[in-house]
Symmetry: C2
């Protein structure tokens, strides 16, 4: 049976209604039950995953893809633990963000409510099925999950397990709907349903995200890439700046919050670059620098314009020596991706100017770009990250899966006096 | 010369940068200067408006449209006063909405920043040119104004006046850009510029809004219509409920927050409907009711299904008697537009259930739907209203023209320990 995607989406919207009214305790209990269900169904889930892995090997998928696809006891335990962590987070629904009694006596509150129905579009990692469902449900939303075909058996088994927990909690399973018809035209249909789907969140490679953004009629929150910069100011603390560039580049090169380009003020380049290069080269980082950089660092290869625009996601770092902070800011405005930008400086005025002059979702002073992450920034969890400036900007937590609406209480106030005879 | 719309939009994005960095005082002074400029240029603006009016008359536009188009000394003074009111509002930019020091010592703040570039797409009212520009600028945004062709001379004169104030404040005029090439394909081009325009806000008839929503690649915040309901519960205060229905329907029938349908619990219909009908009929309201209503109110005409879905924007009210609150909620879910829904009741539990069961942007208890307005709800001003649940939901004030981003300050913290030898 092929999915009738509109029927599925409508059922999810219907099912989202009781979910939106659940108490915080009921949602926490539900997520605990989902974690237990995953553990109870571990054997079935791993068996389904084995099918996916075999198909992937036969399909000749690379080892990186196979690793993303792989589930084992440890990763299953990690999925269950993640569900329990989400269960323990504060419930954003019902939070009062603004309260005022107007001169006419009406009481006006802004109260967080769920967005409604969220469509998650993702690729090979089966754990996203559980992680994303947990966050959407915690915020009282229905969720439509459309994962990659490589993981279809794993996702189906995980979804079946989580849906059983919904059913046993007396909730409609449709609140969590896995799309099993993975034809591209079906995804296109889903992305057109702007009367049903309140938000689509694509997670994966730039190709997937661009496809979703190009074709969606529903609102999309996305980020394409992270071309993150560290600017080392003239009066930066040298050792501090070296630590930031090493952590930013080396601690997890494949992350979107890893550093891709180092900008150094010319007055400090002579002292800083040899130190930084030594630490980076010792950790296997390839440096691609401009003329001024290569005078100071013999090992640096020449940098091209493409290098300054690149998200390497690898142990490669572009380097440029700049005459002043304004040039660094211009460089970042030209090549940056509005993700995360960092300045190393001891000068508060320079830090303030750097922050004010850049549009990025996350701007940092004397801290590693690798902290640009929902968990590290205190959101508790991360459903995604936005580099577009509407609704949410930067790492997105549970609050980003809600919206504030107005609740007004009065005692018969009217806009004009009404005389009833 | 026809506009190169992309060039104009890019210039506006460039110009938005210095605007985004202005102090609150500088923005307030700028808006005061804009108000003074409008007053100083009053004669030129009225002369331009006279051209528009003459063309409109020659084009055979109706009197309602002519009235929307008309400017006179009183309306000019009103535009200037509106600018001064916006000048006096608190500045949302720079507001810290969240602050936390993480266990590792990094200080994380969420800070409001401007959205960037906002495109306003509107119809005949020339005052929107000044009102919308003022709100966008107050929130530090560049604004691209695309008004209706009926008002092109008025809009050009108003924009010239306001841009002079920008220039005299030492700011790039492009921060406020009026589109004078009103070809539809040019608007389409503008709506495709998702790398430049951060938000489009269409204001006008449902046709314009649907056109923008259908064709935009840029994010759009919209509301199509307001089909607002008053549900009179079994234990409502009768006089209070009569006042709410009269105010909701009569105080300004053409407003989107006016009542269109009255739902009455059957247990109170016999006592309430004759009272309400008397007050409404005395004010010239046409009633269209179901069978049960027409038994109680002889003057009521039969209501059709279309009547229950209609935004009359006129002295017409649809009426239905319902067996219980659940039926009222089902009716609203089916026919409502997620704008504003009101319950009249003395029963707190019923009020809570009504609020929780409805998705509307504004839900009210014992207050007139006509308070569903940015000014009345305490936002200070209103740039528009959203019935879609992303970014902003309901009346939108200055905050809705900003987004929160992360500002992080550290002392060299790294994600992993980094040893520098």
């Amino acid at each position: 049976m092929t999915d009738d995607i509109k029927r599925l989406a409508l059922a999810c919207k219907e099912a989202a209604q009781p979910l939106s009214q659940l108490s915080s305790q009921a949602k926490a209990d539900l997520l605990q039950a989902m974690a237990a269900a995953l553990e109870a169904d571990g054997a079935a889930i791993l068996a389904a995953n084995a099918q996916d892995l075999q198909a992937a090997r036969e399909g000749g998928l690379g080892s990186a893809m196979l690793d993303r696809l792989l589930l084992d006891d440890k990763r299953l335990a990690g999925m269950a633990a993640a569900l329990r962590e989400v269960a323990s987070l504060p419930d954003p629904v019902g939070q009062v963000t603004r309260e005022e009694v107007r001169p006419n006596g009406i009481r006006v509150r802004k109260v967080r409510v769920p967005l409604g129905v969220i469509a998650m579009i993702y690729e090979a990692r089966p754990n996203v099925t559980a992680d994303a469902a947990a966050l959407c449900i915690k915020a009282g939303n229905g969720v439509i999950l459309r994962g990659g075909k490589e993981a279809i058996h794993s996702n189906t088994a995980i979804a079946a397990s989580l849906r059983r927990a919904l059913r046993q909690a007396g909730l409609p399973e449709a609140a969590m709907t896995l799309v099993t018809d993975l034809r591209r035209e079906t995804m296109l249909e889903l992305l057109q349903l702007n009367d049903i789907v309140d938000l689509a969140i694509p997670r994966g490679g730039e190709g997937l995200i661009r496809f979703v953004a190009e074709h969606a009629r529903v609102p999309v929150i996305k980020h394409y890439k992270g071309v993150c910069h560290l600017y080392v100011d003239a009066d930066a603390d040298l050792d501090l700046a070296v630590k930031l560039v090493v952590d930013g580049k080396v601690s997890r090169p494949s992350a979107c919050n890893a550093l891709e380009t180092l900008l150094v003020h010319q007055d400090i380049a002579g002292a800083f670059l040899p130190l930084a290069a030594k630490a980076l080269l010792a950790r296997g980082v390839e440096l691609r620098g401009d003329e001024a950089c290569r005078v100071l660092v013999a090992e640096a290869k020449p940098a091209t314009d493409e290098d300054y625009a690149a998200e390497f996601l690898d142990l490669v770092l572009a380097v440029r020596v700049v005459p002043d902070m304004a040039s660094a800011i211009d460089h970042i405005r030209h090549y940056g991706s509005d993700h995360t930008e960092v300045i190393a400086t001891r000068n508060d005025a320079h830090a303030a100017t750097f922050i004010q002059s850049l549009r990025a979702a996350v701007v940092m002073v004397n801290a590693s770009s690798r902290f640009s992450d929902g968990g590290e920034l205190g959101l508790g969890a991360e459903i995604g990250i936005s580099t577009t400036r509407l609704h949410s900007y930067g790492p997105m937590g549970l609050e980003a899966l809600t919206v504030e609406r107005f609740v007004v209480e009065g005692a018969g106030q009217t806009r004009v006096p009404i005389a009833i005879d």
